[in-house]
Amino acid sequence: MRNWLVRDVLGITVISAILIGLSYLLGWLPIPGMAYYNRVIVTIGINIILAVSLNIINGHAGQFSMGHAGFMAVGAYTSAYLTYFHFQPFLATMKEGPAQFAMQQVLFLAALLAGGGIAALAGWLVGLPSLRLRGDYLAIVTLGFGEIIRVLILNIDKIGGARGLAGVPAFANFFWVYLFVCIVVIVSWRLIRSQVGRAFLAVREDEIAAEAMGVNTTHYKVQAFVIGSFFAGIAGGLLGHYLVYLNPGMFQFTKSFEAIVMVVLGGMGSISGAVLAAVILSVALEALRFVKEAFGLTADPRMVIYAIVLILLMRLRPQGVLGNREIGSFFRRRNGRSE
């Protein structure tokens, strides 16, 4: 009985086909400045992956991590190292054509997965000692580890150090980013509707009770951390191959905060909330670029307005846009069914 595998492979194929169709549509649309909009759409996708993956750690397992940018950096640099130093030269030896194109996609996927894998390994190494701590202490330690990773990369000359790594192959595109958006959402969704996800929630709700019910709390905290780090690594890999440039400065703790803001704003523990907040914040940051021109200001008030919006939202809706619920539950309740 391998029906389930067939169904999932079919599902991924359908999603891929739709995404390829959409990416052609986006390329074809005769809108002026479409390249810019494309870039915004891809950025939104990468932010969704970041927010949803951090939500597994912060929202579901309740472990306040502030080092997400560090794991993103590990994934970004690992995959870029592979494509820049190994895969790109190899592809250059191939004849141009469909075979080369197909090979490029396969190698890119391999590089992304390797980046995610090494980020997951880093998550495991960092998580194992630090997840013994709770609350503020854990936050500070993960913040520290995130910075340590960044400073380590800053000092490795082979991958550019402070100069950054220019000329990362431009393998990432709308298709790859949104394929992983779909994957991270599905993985997170399925996890939370299983005993594994319920164990995460139990740890978040009450560690002592969880332990008394036979849940090995350390094991599940680390597991959530590793899964979250894996997808942070993937997001990093996608970012590097989209911007074709990496710099340790891109992964400062402010990047971790951006992801935290998305998770908190969407509602801790809500997957659809994380997606929604990632979209809203990414769009808001871009939309606010026009304020300076529109009002003829000399200084850019973008970040000031952004901050005010955040403060207002937290004042008016401290539990986040969706609270800890999913977007679907709001519609179901209206129909009189409770779940």
């Binding site: 996890l191 996800g197 319920r198 929630l201 139990a202 090995n216 597991q223 409770s338």
Partner: protein, 259 residues
């Protein structure tokens, strides 16, 4: 042939700094026995519970659950040996549904990995089906099945206590430890609870250890009672014997004035 005791505690002592909270605690529980643990406030009852379930490690002594020494085990491993508990100050998973609460209770029985969860493997489906079915059955026993999808915090206090018992039973324990199950319940609810504890014992064939201040409940259902005072076991025996034991009366009411 001897029947294996579900619990054997020998000479269990715990000290916090200079304070000996519990000293030389001995207790053996046979399968399907209903045992009460009583004593004035601060006598060390909950400390005993915390040691039996691995929250605290005893300074001295040995605790065996189903014959296995629990010395080097974590709390979650002791649950796997067959000892599940409730808490004095309710610890249900507040924002989770009743169904999820009970399913987490059965955590040790539904074994599949994150990969099974993500791929929705056959193993995942079988275990999930079983988990949902068992959880609904348990909730039905406590008349909570109709609220299976509500958040636990939306339940009234008494129902939260019952949910906690249902959650503990989901672990399919051999020994159920109830820490003040009647605290905060009114007379009617307490009577219902007494009947329910009896029913649970008969239905699941498990031993129950109860900490309780409500004498009516303890005397009514326990087959054996142990009295703690200042960490020491001052009496042990049948309910009637305990009720008339001068040492116990003194511990609760103080010394007679004419003594």
């Amino acid at each position: 042939m001897t029947i294996l005791n579900v619990l054997d505690a020998q000479g269990v002592t715990i000290r916090f700094g200079g304070l000996t909270a519990v000293s030389e605690f001995n207790l053996s529980i046979r399968p399907t026995e209903l045992v009460g643990l009583i004593g004035p406030n601060g006598a060390g009852k909950t400390t005993v519970f915390n040691m039996l379930t691995g929250v605290y490690k005893p300074t001295e002594g040995e605790i065996r659950v189903n014959g296995v020494d629990t010395k080097s085990l974590k709390a979650c491993d002791i649950t796997k040996l067959g000892a599940a508990r409730t808490f004095q100050n309710i610890r249900v998973f507040k924002t989770l549904s009743l169904l999820d609460n009970v399913r987490i209770g059965g955590h040790i029985h539904y074994k599949y990995s994150w990969a099974d969860s993500v791929l929705h493997s056959v193993k995942f489906r079988e275990h999930e089906e079983q988990a949902a079915q068992e959880a609904i059955e348990l909730l039905s026993i406590f008349d909570l099945a109709h609220r299976a999808h509500d958040e636990a915090r939306s339940l009234p206090y008494g129902d939260q206590r019952r949910l906690e018992i249902a959650r503990a039973l989901a672990a399919k324990p051999k020994l159920l430890l109830l820490d003040e199950p009647a605290a905060g319940l009114n007379t009617g609810e307490t009577a219902g609870l007494m009947a329910q504890i009896h029913e649970i014992r008969d239905r699941f064939g498990i031993a129950v250890l109860i900490i309780e201040h409500n004498m009516e409940l303890v005397m009514g259902i326990c087959e054996r009672i142990l009295v703690l005072n200042y960490g020491k076991t001052i009496a042990q025996g049948h309910p009637e014997a305990i009720q008339n034991d001068p040492v116990v009366i003194e511990a609760y009411l103080g010394e007679p004035a004419d003594a």
